[in-house]
Amino acid sequence: MSAFWSRAQRHVGFLIGATLVLLVALMALVSLFWTPHPYDDLRMALKLKPPDGTWLLGTDHRGRDVLSRIMVGAQTSITVGLIAVSIGMALGVGLGAWAAARRGWLDEVVSRLNDLVFAFPAVLMAILITSVFGASATNAILAIGIFNIPVFARVTRGAALMMWGRDFVRAASALGLGPLTITVRHVLPNIASVLLVQATIQFATAILAEAGLSYLGLGAQPPVPSWGRMLYDAQTYLYDAPGLAIYPGLAIALTVLGLNMMGDGLRDLLDPRLRLMRVG
């Protein structure tokens, strides 16, 4: 572990990424207790103010403080991303590990289901899902989570299959240990780093997806701020207040950039041979 840290300290990409992620997390954390102004206080008289000493990033079309909304928006992005990836991971890792352990028809079924989800235009299905259950942060999580399942299933299956070919796993099998025990004791711990790296990348993807859904009006509902929705609203005021279209986008880009750099860094640090899936 200490070896990891000493190498990590020399990996510039990882350091930049981790710093960005920490900053965003810190911003979300602070916003739980404090924001410069109330994030949901409507003051029509103060609408579309340019940035100044009081309103550091100006106010939006409802006279709300943009900085406060971006801070609280970080909560939305992080929550949606985190839960969606957890759903995908919980189910995907289970399915992938199971398929690798059992092979045969189960493996085939899992692969076909994966193909099915990959073949659907993801945005389309997410739109349909949120139309069925209503637009809300919860349903955005669900829609993004579903598309994370096959990603994790595929990665887990691939990595687990490699493990099942290793001597120590074969030995465990010869000793009469059941597939579940072997998976839990030997396979999963050895592929944990792969999954960690993939999870970081998926987190980034999930935040992008949440932003996209919110932009289409299918994510978190007002007055809860979300970066994607702020961008949608901003587009109406491109002529009057172009800044509104810049800050939330910057927040998304920096968060995602941080996670991506951290993920790539982790990969280099943990296992340079790891192959990642990037699903857009």
């Binding site: 193909d115 235009p121 349909l128 491109l238 990037r278």
Partner: protein, 315 residues
């Protein structure tokens, strides 16, 4: 080789059949009654029932599924509930926007990303390599709709070089139509350029390590020719694979980008159909898009086989 392709084809068809069932069932549980949408707030129970019968919405589930799939197989997509016109006409009207958009975006990506990747690979470890890789990292982190908004802000609103949105139509103004597609295609291609340039770079690096490249270099072949003649050709295999995957994502991305630039494309058709509960349009578009993605994947497999005739197992 043929065997491999046949197996891929069978798997694709199976996936498509599963997809049709999923789409059909999702639309079944979609809340909101198409007939109620047509009749509005003054709808009466008797008029609703009559309209249900007219639209065939009162028939049993299986019967409706079979008749839909039957229609698909005979290329009859039926008539839109909302417009009353054939669904195929609606789709064709929109495809002429989305397809050029996707093609434009894909060619932007290829023309920028491949040279960029080759360049970075040839300068491995140097500053320019770092810059290219950094650009790639940033490129995949920017939401493409935000990039679109930024392009609209700077190139359209401020500099007035491009329209900020809308589409005049090929018939009325072909040049203007192409003009209107450039910013959307650019914003669509940004993340793809980022991904493709990284793939090209690493694929080039892999091939540059191969023996025959070293041999060529040892024989004194010019570096330029080594890169172009020997390395790039072989490096193209994974590049084509990823480009194929990207084609699928372009379609999905087009839905959001069409919203940013108000383009009357397939994405907008689906969006509008969902909000009108024009179920018959939604299910046909979704299944056709799915089929298209599967087809592209199949084509990629074929190109793959052609470029590299060794038999492959599933990728």
């Amino acid at each position: 080789m043929l065997d491999f392709l046949l197996r891929r084809l069978a798997a694709a068809l199976l996936t498509l059949a599963l997809a049709s069932i999923v789409v059909f069932l999702v639309l079944e549980v979609l809340p909101g009654d198409p007939a109620l949408v047509m009749l509005g707030t003054e709808a009466r129970p008797d008029t609703l029932a009559a309209l249900h019968a007219k639209l065939g919405l009162d028939r049993p589930l299986l019967e409706r599924y079979v008749s839909w799939v039957g229609g698909l197989l005979s290329f009859d997509l039926g008539n839109s509930y909302a417009y009353g016109t054939p669904v195929s006409k609606l789709i064709l009207d929109r495809v002429v926007v989305t397809l050029p958009l996707g093609a434009l975006a894909l060619s932007f990506s290829a023309c920028v990303a491949i040279p960029l990747g080759v360049f970075a690979a040839s300068r491995r470890g140097r500053m320019s390599d770092w810059l290219v890789m950094g650009f790639g990292q940033v490129g995949i982190s920017i939401p493409n709709f935000w990039f679109g908004i930024l392009l609209a802000l700077f190139l359209a609103v401020t500099l007035k070089l491009f329209p900020a949105g809308g589409f005049p139509g090929w018939g009325t103004d072909p040049l203007g139509s192409l003009h209107a597609l450039i910013l959307p295609a650019l914003s669509l291609s940004l993340p793809e350029i980022a991904i493709l340039s990284r793939v090209t770079r690493s694929s080039m690096l892999d091939t540059l390590r191969e023996d025959y490249v070293r041999t060529a270099r040892a024989k004194g072949v010019a570096e330029r020719d080594v890169l172009m003649r020997h390395a790039l050709r072989n490096a193209l295999i994974p590049i084509v694979t990823i480009a194929g995957l990207i084609a699928g994502f372009l379609l999905a991305g087009a839905i959001i980008v069409e919203t940013v630039f108000y383009l009357p494309g397939v994405g907008k058709l689906v969006f509008d159909s969902i909000s009108n509960r024009d179920l018959i349009v939604i299910k046909n578009v979704v299944i056709l898009l799915t089929a298209l993605v599967l087809l592209v994947n199949l084509l990629v497999d074929m190109v793959y086989v052609i470029l590299d005739p060794r038999p492959k197992v599933s990728v």
